[in-house]
C-alpha cells in the first residue's frame, strides 16, 4: 500500500510529482478566465493610475498650482505674436457705416485671436440697419477683416416721424434729413407702406411712362395704393393686382389723354366700373359748355 499521508512525505529525489497543487490549479484556471485576464491587463493599471492621480489631486494647493500652470501655458501660447490681432479693416462700407461698425464692435486691440468670437462680432455688425450682410475673418498679419455689403436704399418713406430710406425689401436703411438728398428715389407714404415696398417698386416700374409727373405712392387704409401725380391728380388702385390696374389706366391715358385732362382722380378700385372724377373747375366749364350748346337739353 502506498503511504496515505502523502503530504508528510518528501518528494523523492529526482522524481518530483509534476501535479500542481489544488490551489495552483485553481489559480491558473482563474487567471485563464477572460474577465480576470482583461481586468488584470487593463483594469488594474487603470485603477492604479486613477488612484495615484486622485491622491495627488486631493490637495487643494496642488490643484491650484496645476490649474495655474495650465492657464499660464495656455496664455503663453495664445499671446504669441502669431495669434495677435492688431487692427480691424472694414471693406465695402461707407465712411459713416464703417464708423458705426467700429463703434459697435467692442474689441480693444491688440487682442489674441483665441479671444475673438467672430460669430458674435458678425451678428453685432449684421444687426446694424445699413448692413445687409457681413463676413468677419482674421487675415494673416493680424488683421480682423470685416467685409460688409451695405443695404442700397430703393425707396423714401415719408411718415409722421420724417423721411426714411428703405431698401427694396422695405427694411429701414437710414433716416433722411431732406428729400433733396435723394431726388432720384421714389417716395411712398402712408401707414404700413414699408411692408409693401416690393409692390411699391413694381408699381413705380409700371408707372415709368408717367415720367416726372409721378409724385409718389400713398398707402391708403393699409390696404391699397394711390398713385399721386402732380396737379393733385390721383389714381386709386385696387387692393388686388394693382400693377395691372395701373397699366390699364396708363393704356387708356395714352390713347385718350385721360391724365392730361383736368381730372381730379381716376378710380379703378372696381375693375368693372372705372370712374373718373373731374375737378370743380372743369365741371363748371362742362356745365357752361352744355348751356351754351343746347340749354341743358
Amino acid at each position: 500500500m502506498q503511504p496515505l499521508k502523502g503530504w508528510f512525505r518528501k518528494p523523492e529525489e529526482g522524481r518530483c510529482d509534476p501535479a500542481p497543487s489544488r490551489l495552483k490549479y485553481r489559480l491558473q484556471r482563474w487567471m485563464l478566465t477572460p474577465g480576470i485576464r482583461f481586468g488584470l491587463r487593463f483594469g488594474v493599471p487603470f485603477c492604479l493610475v486613477f488612484a495615484a492621480g486622485a491622491a495627488y489631486l486631493a490637495d487643494e494647493g496642488r490643484r491650484d498650482t496645476l490649474q495655474a500652470m495650465v492657464n499660464d501655458a495656455r496664455a503663453a501660447i495664445q499671446e504669441r505674436p502669431e495669434f495677435m490681432v492688431n487692427v480691424m479693416a472694414v471693406d465695402g462700407a461707407g465712411t459713416s457705416v464703417a464708423q458705426d461698425i467700429r463703434e459697435v464692435v467692442p474689441v480693444d486691440f491688440p487682442v489674441s485671436s483665441f479671444d475673438l468670437d467672430l460669430e458674435q462680432i458678425r451678428d453685432v455688425i449684421t444687426g446694424l440697419d445699413p448692413v445687409k450682410t457681413a463676413s468677419v475673418r482674421i487675415r494673416p498679419g493680424g488683421i480682423l477683416q470685416v467685409d460688409v455689403e451695405e443695404r442700397q436704399p430703393a425707396l423714401i418713406w415719408r411718415s409722421r416721424e420724417g423721411l426714411a430710406l428703405l431698401d427694396e425689401n422695405g427694411i429701414h436703411v437710414a433716416e433722411l434729413g431732406r428729400r433733396s438728398l435723394h431726388p432720384d428715389l421714389p417716395l411712398i407714404a402712408g401707414k404700413g407702406a414699408a411692408k409693401h415696398a416690393a409692390e411699391a417698386l413694381r408699381l413705380f416700374a409700371a408707372a415709368k411712362p408717367l415720367g416726372p409727373r409721378l409724385r409718389g405712392l400713398v398707402r391708403v387704409g393699409e390696404r391699397r395704393w394711390d398713385v399721386v401725380l402732380d396737379r393733385k391728380q390721383r389714381i386709386m388702385l385696387p387692393a388686388g393686382n394693382p400693377v395691372r390696374a395701373l397699366e390699364r389706366v396708363l393704356a387708356v391715358s395714352e390713347v385718350q389723354d385721360l391724365l392730361e385732362r383736368d381730372v381730379a382722380a381716376v378710380d379703378v378700385r372696381l375693375a368693372g366700373r372705372p370712374t373718373v372724377r373731374m375737378t370743380e373747375n372743369s365741371v363748371e366749364n362742362w356745365w357752361r359748355i352744355r348751356q351754351l350748346n343746347g340749354g341743358g337739353q
Binding site: Q2, G6, D17, P18, A19, P20, R22, K24, Y25, R26, Q28, R29, L32, T33, P34
Partner: protein, 450 residues
C-alpha cells in the same frame, strides 16, 4: 420496476450531460480526457461553427471533421489507474489536474466542460429490439422515441450502468437496414439497439474525480467506442470491422457495422502486463522494463536477435549487477507468450461475439501496445488474415506527438464530441414513461377509469 426507475434516472443524467455538451458547444471550448491505465491525455478543442459538408453532399476534407480544432494537448503518466479503473482517487485526480493544466496552458483558455472516456469497468454488450405498431401513420421522431422506449431492457444487474444505448438499425415492415425511418410509412416499426453497460462504481469514481478538478462532465464514452470511431476508416465502419485498442491495462474490443458500434468488450490484459513480465523475467525495475520493451521489444525472433545484446542496466551500485545484458531473442521470448495470450483472449471474445458471421473480417489494431514490432504478423496468425495497424484520423491542430496509435481513443472522443451519434436519450421520452408526481398519477388514474 427497479430497472425501470433506474433507466429513468439514467435517461435524466444522460440528458443533463447532453445539455452540458450543448453549453460547451456554445462556449466553443471543450476538453477531451482519456483516462487510461498508462497515460492520461487531455486535448482542448475549439469549435468554430459546425463542420459543413461540401456542396455535392459528400464528406469533405478531414472526413467532415473540420468543425473543430485542437488547441491544446497534454499527456501525463497515469497514476492510480489499473485496468482502466480508478483505484487511487487522489492520485488520479492529481494526474488529471496535471494534464488539464498543461493543456489549458497550451490552449491559453479556461476549460469548464470535459468529455471523458475510460476503458475498464467490465463493459458488456446487449442487443435490444422492439416493435411498434404504427397504425399506418408516418414515422416521426415521436414514434422513434416510442419504439426506443419500448425496448425490453434486460436485467443487467445491480451496480451496473448504461454507458451507450444506440439504435443501430430500424426496420419498417419487411424492410430492414434503414438508417433513418422518419417520414416513411409502414405498419410496424422495429428497432435494434445496442446497449453497453459498465460497472457503476467505476463511472462514479471517474465523475467524482472530474468534479474534484472543478470540471463539468459533458459526456462519457467507452474508449473501445472512441478508438473504433477514429481508427477505423469509413469503409471499415460501414462494412464491418473490429477495432482492438491495446492499451496499458486493458485491451478493448469494439465491432462496428454500418457505422454503428454493435459490440464492445474488454480484456483485462495490456501492455503493462508485458512490462511486468519483462521486469520479473529480467529482474529489472518497471521503468527499465518499460524502456527495454519500447526500444527493443518484438515478437518475432530471428537469428540476428540472438546476437543483439541489450544492456538492461540498473543503478544499485553493484558493478556486476548493473552491467547485466540480455539478448534480444530472450526479450522476445518473454514478450511473445504474453502478447499471444492477449491476442488469444481477444480471439475468444470475438468468437463469442460471433465476429466470423460478419461479412467483413477486417481487424484493426491500435492503442499504445500495438506499436510492438512485428505485432501485425503475429496478430494475423491468431486473429485472421485481414489485420492492419491503425492510427487515429488526423484532426486539425493535433500536435505530432499526439498522432500515434496510443491516442486513438482521445482522437475518437474528439469526433464523438463534435458529432455524437444518436443515443436513446437524444429522443424525447414519450409522456407515459415520465415519472409523474403524485398528482399526475392521480390524474392519469382518474382519466383511465372514467
Amino acid at each position: 420496476m427497479g430497472a425501470g426507475s433506474n433507466m429513468t434516472d439514467l435517461y435524466q443524467s444522460q440528458r443533463a450531460m447532453r445539455q452540458m455538451r450543448r453549453q460547451a458547444m456554445q462556449r466553443g471550448v471543450v476538453a477531451i480526457l482519456d483516462v487510461g491505465s498508462s497515460k492520461i491525455a487531455c486535448l482542448v478543442l475549439r469549435f468554430d461553427g459546425t463542420g459543413r459538408l461540401s456542396e455535392d453532399g459528400s464528406i469533405g476534407a478531414l472526413a467532415g471533421q473540420s468543425g473543430f480544432r485542437v488547441i491544446g494537448a497534454a499527456t501525463t503518466r497515469s497514476r492510480g489507474v489499473q485496468f482502466g479503473e480508478i483505484t487511487a482517487m487522489q492520485e488520479t485526480e492529481r494526474a488529471i489536474r496535471t494534464a488539464v493544466q498543461a493543456a489549458q496552458k497550451m490552449a491559453e483558455v479556461r476549460v469548464d466542460h470535459v468529455i471523458a472516456c475510460f476503458s475498464g469497468a467490465n463493459p458488456r454488450s446487449y442487443g435490444l429490439d422492439a416493435k411498434l405498431d404504427l397504425e399506418g401513420q408516418v414515422v416521426s421522431e415521436h414514434e422513434v422515441a416510442q419504439v426506443l422506449a419500448s425496448c425490453e431492457v434486460p436485467e443487467y444487474g445491480a451496480g451496473r450502468e448504461v454507458l451507450h444505448a444506440q439504435p443501430v438499425n430500424f426496420a419498417l415492415d419487411n424492410r430492414s437496414g434503414l438508417g433513418d425511418p422518419r417520414g416513411q410509412m409502414g405498419q410496424t416499426l422495429a428497432v435494434d439497439m445496442h446497449m453497453l453497460t459498465v460497472d457503476a462504481i467505476a463511472v462514479q469514481n471517474l465523475v467524482r474525480c472530474i468534479q474534484r478538478c472543478d470540471l463539468e462532465l459533458a459526456g462519457i464514452a467507452s474508449s473501445a467506442y472512441a478508438s473504433g470511431f477514429s481508427a477505423l476508416v469509413e469503409d471499415e465502419q460501414e462494412l464491418g470491422a473490429a477495432c482492438i485498442d491495446m492499451g496499458g491495462g486493458t485491451t478493448s474490443i469494439s465491432i462496428f457495422m454500418k457505422k454503428h458500434m454493435i459490440y464492445a468488450d474488454a480484456v483485462r490484459l495490456g501492455g503493462d502486463h508485458i512490462t511486468s513480465d519483462i521486469s520479473m523475467g529480467l529482474g529489472v525495475p518497471l521503468a527499465n522494463a518499460e524502456r527495454i520493451k519500447t526500444f527493443n521489444g518484438g515478437v518475432h525472433a530471428t537469428g540476428a536477435d540472438d546476437r543483439e545484446i541489450i544492456d538492461i542496466g540498473g543503478d544499485t551500485g553493484d558493478w556486476e549487477h548493473d552491467r547485466r545484458t540480455v539478448s534480444r531473442a530472450e526479450l522476445i521470448g518473454i514478450m511473445r507468450p504474453r502478447v499471444e495470450e492477449i491476442l488469444e483472449e481477444v480471439r475468444a471474445r470475438l468468437d463469442a461475439a460471433g465476429f466470423e458471421c460478419l461479412p467483413s473480417q477486417q481487424i484493426v489494431l491500435t492503442g499504445g501496445s500495438s506499436q510492438i514490432m512485428g505485432l501485425d504478423g503475429l496478430a494475423s496468425r491468431i486473429l485472421g488474415q485481414q489485420v492492419r495497424l491503425g492510427r487515429p484520423l488526423r484532426v486539425h491542430g493535433l500536435p505530432q506527438s499526439a498522432t500515434g496509435p496510443g491516442f486513438a481513443s482521445a482522437v475518437g472522443l474528439c469526433l464523438f464530441a463534435a458529432h455524437p451519434q444518436d443515443e436513446w436519450w437524444d429522443f424525447e421520452m414519450p409522456a407515459g414513461r415520465h415519472p409523474a408526481g403524485t398528482l399526475g398519477r392521480a390524474v392519469r388514474w382518474f382519466r383511465d377509469n372514467w
